[in-house]
């Protein structure tokens, strides 16, 4: 939650005397009995009517705060940011036209006032685009002060974006996710259109080239049409046609290839998975692009299955097109493959290039069957599911204040993460903006994804704004945020994240509450915000609380956070309490019953599990660390023990130098293994082939004695194919001196004495 309140409200404390709400028949409630049974005598008045958790007391009017909301769902060019907060848009605009300084202070104030008014309109439920709301507010404010109009116009001109303004309302999560999903699909569509356009143009070029080289293409009529009317009189098209027909190659496109290209082209042009670009008409107007938004998994899955053959045909056509354009289509090999190409030939990487199926499960949807949802997520259908969690609290079938094993809505995301290959994000609606990059990543993920969002206690049930109750759910660990990204790495440390949760390493978040005591002294008290505090946000569960009766010893009251940390079996005469504040800004305590405490314990266990997954207080790591530490300590103790007698006997104890960790062996420079030079006698004739520069000197002398190997470097192919004189001559003419004539093989060759003398420098 933003701590943006204008100072802390002064709250009078009832430390010594607690006001008690006396019930109708004047019977007092025994706190201990209430704690144990959850029952209070009489009609059981709502002790928390009009109250909220003490930590939320300062957040009276959210429209006076400058925080993430409302958001602007940007239309058109987004520059990588499809959603921005109104405050960031205004900040950027102020940086441009009214940087900090005295000169532009007046302008800044006016623009910030306009922003506040827009925020108020959005909070009141008014919908519209930023430009519309801006103009509306500016017109209204101009009636009271003309300067507003001028400032508004200056600012309006500096805003380069526009889009629907969205406050943190009941349908916010749906609009948020749908907008981001559209942005991701549009990005895919652009890439797809670029690829398919290129393929279609290139395929058309092949057909066109073939036509131009055909007799019809070279006919006089066609040539005349190509030149156009302006200069036709200058040419003799018949002669041109005769000339071209004689000189050009006669090969035409094989019929099978032509059919293949035409078929692939037709499939590319008639695809329905992506809409045509703005301004471009579809060739087949009757076939509208497919829709990919659904409100239940079954319909989405059925649509995917129905479209799979068409998808396979499209991928096949694209593959054929790539091969044909590259000139690497080999009918003998590829015909067999493509004849059997079907949906089973598609890989997940191929389907990831096409649109995902967005399924929005509303809060009012029929009771969700977790098993069906898990089955849909593990079916390899590219689903992106938004699961709106309607109500975090579920009573057990036993009813009457018993919580179920409960918090079922909060468990869906955890179950989905357990599937392993599903991208999961769990968050409250107030935190969605901060998680936008991660959500974008999830929407771009190649496999299925689940976004589980709690939008706050329904407004008809609670007087708190949705933003506050949603934020309270996250702060109290009732609905913590986490994400699981299978593509981030192979281990949990890479995949699982608890980012954005405050104070991740503690059980409960702790924030200060400041108030004034009866002597009007400021007191600051660190207070934990627990699940029980969150229950206060929902009047339907106020029956789990009761006001403190007059005269009850406050020393017998333990803060709920401390109480939850105790063992459930520990007996006590004390009772747990929480701090609340009313509309009159009076701080008071309320006693909590055991049912609510039990639910809080289960919530805490759930949080601990998430912490383990996120690497916080990981029990395995902590045990391993403890074990290793123990081993190290024992080892050190033994070493010290072994040194003591020797030290005592001789000189003053000299502490043995700490054992240096074994130095990593110095890495030897990787040298190529020395090739063992073949043992050669000086009598043998040879060429240092690897140093030959292919100058042809020796091969021109005798191309049977000297030949080139596969690398066109010379070697002695047949010593008997030439004379010793030629060997010596080759050695003398080789500029690199790599020919070694050795001793003559034929002892009867004439002039050997002279030749041997000439060969000496080369031996």
């Amino acid at each position: 939650m933003h701590d943006g309140a204008d100072g802390q409200a002064a709250i009078k404390a009832e430390l010594q005397t607690m006001q008690m709400n006396v019930n109708a028949d004047a019977q007092t409630v025994d706190p201990l009995i209430f704690y144990m049974t959850g029952k209070q005598p009489g009609s059981g008045r709502d002790a928390l009517a009009g109250k909220r958790p003490a930590l939320l007391a300062a957040y009276g009017d959210l429209t006076r705060l400058r925080y993430d909301f409302p958001l602007v769902l940007i239309e058109g060019k987004t520059n990588g940011a499809p959603i921005r907060s109104l405050s960031s848009v205004v900040d950027e605009m102020l940086q441009k036209i009214a940087p900090p300084g005295m000169e532009s202070e007046q302008l800044r104030k006016m623009i910030l006032r306009i922003e506040r008014e827009i925020r108020t309109l959005a909070a009141a439920g008014e919908s519209g685009r930023l430009s519309e709301l801006w103009d509306k507010v500016a017109t209204r404010l101009e009636e009271t002060d003309e300067a507003f109009g001028k400032s508004a116009r200056i600012a309006r001109a500096a805003i380069e974006i526009d889009g629907v303004v969205l406050d943190c309302c009941a349908g916010m999560a749906t609009s948020f996710i749908a907008h981001l999903w559209s942005a991701v699909q549009e990005s895919k569509a652009q890439k797809f259109r670029a690829t398919v356009s290129r393929l279609a143009v290139k395929l058309a070029d092949i057909l066109r080239t073939d036509y131009l080289r055909s007799p019809a293409g070279r006919s006089a009529e066609n040539l005349q049409a190509a030149v156009g009317p302006a200069h036709q009189a200058l040419f003799d098209f018949s002669a041109m046609s005769r000339l071209l027909s004689k000189s050009s190659p006669r090969e035409a496109l094989p019929e099978s290839r032509r059919r293949r290209i035409e078929s692939a082209l037709a499939v590319l042009k008639s695809q329905r998975f992506f809409a045509a670009a703005a301004g471009q008409a579809r060739p087949d107007r009757s076939a509208e692009p497919y829709s990919f938004g659904f409100d239940n998994c079954a319909d989405a899955t059925a649509a995917y299955q129905a479209r799979l053959p068409e998808l396979a045909e499209l991928v096949k056509a694209m593959s054929i097109a790539e091969l044909e354009i590259d000139g690497t289509y080999v009918e003998a090999k590829h015909d067999v493959i493509f004849s059997g190409f079907d949906a089973g030939s598609l890989s997940p990487q191929d389907t990831a290039l096409f649109p995902d199926y967005l399924v929005t499960l509303g809060a009012g949807a029929p009771a969700l069957d977790n098993a069906a949802l898990m089955a849909a997520l593990s079916s390899e259908v590219p689903l992106k599911i938004l699961f709106n969690v309607g109500d975090l609290f579920e009573e057990a079938r036993a009813g009457d204040g018993h919580f179920a094993s409960g918090l079922r809505g909060a468990q869906v995301a955890g179950l989905a993460a357990g599937l392993g290959e599903v991208f999961v994000v769990q968050s409250v609606s107030s935190n969605l903006y901060r998680l936008r990059e991660r959500i974008l990543r999830g929407l771009s993920f190649g496999g299925p994804a689940l976004f589980s969002v709690f939008s706050g206690v329904p407004e008809q049930e609670s007087s708190l704004p949705l933003y506050l109750s949603a934020a309270a759910a996250m702060q109290s660990r009732a609905f913590p945020a986490f994400s699981y990204d299978p593509s981030a790495g192979s281990d949990m440390a890479s995949r699982f994240s608890l980012e954005n949760n405050a104070q991740q390493d503690t059980d409960w978040t702790v924030q200060p509450v400041e108030y004034a005591d009866p002597d009007l002294q400021r007191i600051r008290q660190e207070t934990a915000f627990t699940f029980v505090d969150f229950l206060v946000c929902d009047p339907r569960y106020h029956r789990h609380f009761v006001a403190v009766p007059r005269g009850f010893d406050i020393k017998r009251m333990i803060p709920a956070a401390q109480w939850i940390a105790r063992s459930p079996t520990e007996s006590s005469d004390n009772v747990p309490y929480i701090l609340t504040a009313g509309g009159d800004n009076v701080l008071s305590r309320a006693i909590v019953d055991d049912r609510a405490i039990g639910a809080a314990r289960r919530c805490l266990e759930n949080w601990h599990r998430l912490q383990e997954s996120g690497g916080v207080h990981n029990s395995h790591a902590e045990r391993l660390l403890k074990r290793e530490k123990q081993i190290w300590e024992d080892q050190k103790r033994q070493e010290l023990a072994s040194l003591k007698p020797a030290a005592a006997a001789a000189m003053p104890a000299v502490v043995a130098p700490p054992t240096t960790p074994a130095q990593p062996a110095a890495a030897e420079a990787a040298a190529e293994p020395e090739a063992k030079a073949p043992e050669r006698s000086t009598d043998e004739a040879y060429i240092e082939t690897e140093r030959c520069s292919t100058c042809n000197e020796c091969t021109q002398l005798n191309d049977r004695m000297f030949a080139y190997n596969a690398n066109k470097q010379a070697y002695i192919a047949d010593i008997k194919a030439g004379t010793y004189a030629q060997l010596v001559e080759a050695a003398e003419s080789c500029q690199l001196g790599i020919i070694h004539p050795g001793k003559p093989v034929n002892k009867a060759e004439p002039g050997l004495d002279d030749l041997i003398k000439r060969a000496e420098p080369f031996l």
């Binding site: 670029a194 290129r198 991928v315 292919t694 596969a710």
Partner: protein, 329 residues
């Protein structure tokens, strides 16, 4: 956007070519000419990297060096004197999928083609340029070139060349955006091949100067270097060249040099004796011009037509309303 299906299918189509498959015409170079070594190294490169002949292009200017495209069984363009580079750049812009090599000589590149050379380095388009530097105009029978040593007597410098030779390495390293500069000698074919391979694999404009022999007009010029391996300084590095064990035994004069160190590269380039051989500079981060200019817009006929119409409309003289309303004469 790549389809997994196409990936697998493309892998099915594998062509393997032997060295002979890249051999075009029989070379007419003199026996002992260094161009033969360069040709062999290029053919080995094509074979070892499985370059498809129909996707490979050799572009040359005029000179002995520029005969090379005729001897490669690939596409080739034997252009006019000094203009190999602009042709190669045009080919690359129109067909970025082709493997483009440029073969040019010391006269073709450093004299008439100098301007193109400077700007080709700046553009850093993805191609490999091989400068066959034999220090003389050989095809036209011995005239002094920009890299001829001072004092060389030739048909155009009968009293000896008056000027110090131009150093192509220092010139290239002095141009902005240079991304790959290397030097090889034709008489160490293994190193020549390794350098050309590194040049081909570098994404950007790879400049390789190959000091080569001309047995006809400068037959003994490089004898001291041929006969004394110590006069060759081999630059080695884990990101550069590595000598084989056999070669390391012969060429013991080695120096560790990081190809990313531009300052040191410039110092090494200034030294001419011993001849430095290896990769002097390599920076893969320099962007290529064709990538910077990639519009992403598909050039369809309609798109080109619309563009042309828009341009022509700027010069069109439109009739006034009055003229339009007059009846036709």
């Amino acid at each position: 956007m790549t389809l997994e299906a196409t990936h697998c299918l493309l892998r099915m189509y594998e062509e393997h070519h032997n060295l002979e498959d890249y051999q075009g015409g029989v070379p007419r170079w003199c026996t002992g000419c260094g161009d033969n070594a360069i040709l062999t190294a290029m053919q080995r490169l094509c074979r070892d990297n499985d370059l498809r002949p129909e996707k490979t292009m050799f572009v040359s200017g005029i000179g002995c060096s520029s005969r090379l495209p005729h001897y490669m069984h690939t596409y080739g363009f034997h252009g006019i004197h000094g203009r190999a580079l602009p042709v190669a750049e045009g080919i690359k812009m129109a067909r970025p999928d082709l493997n483009v090599f440029v073969n040019t000589g010391d006269g073709d590149c450093c004299s008439i083609g100098a301007a193109h050379w400077i700007h080709a380095i700046r553009y850093n388009m993805n191609m490999t340029m091989v400068l066959h530097d034999n220090h003389v105009y050989g095809l036209t029978k011995k005239q002094a070139s920009p890299t001829s040593p001072r004092g060389l007597k030739s048909n155009t410098t009968p009293r000896g060349a008056y000027l110090e030779a131009l150093n192509p390495l220092t010139v290239t390293l002095g141009v902005q955006n240079a991304s790959f500069v290397a030097q090889a000698v034709d008489w160490i074919p293994e190193v020549l091949y390794d350098i050309l391979t590194a040049a081909f694999r570098h994404r950007g404009f790879s400049f390789v100067r190959v000091i080569q022999r001309c047995p006809e007009f400068l037959p003994n010029m490089f004898d001291p270097w041929l006969q004394n391996p110590q006069k060759t300084l081999v630059l080695t590095h884990e990101h550069g060249l590595r000598l084989s064990a056999n070669l390391a035994k012969v060429y013991k004069n080695q120096q560790e040099h990081d190809p990313l160190d531009l300052e040191h590269a410039r110092k090494i380039a200034s030294v001419e004796d011993p001849i430095p051989v290896g990769i002097l500079y390599q920076n893969p981060e320099i962007p290529c011009y064709e990538d910077l200019r990639l519009s992403g817009q598909l050039r369809t006929t309609d798109y080109v037509r619309a563009g042309l119409e828009a341009e022509f409309d700027k010069f069109t003289v439109w009739p006034t309303e009055q003229e339009q309303s007059k009846p036709a004469a």
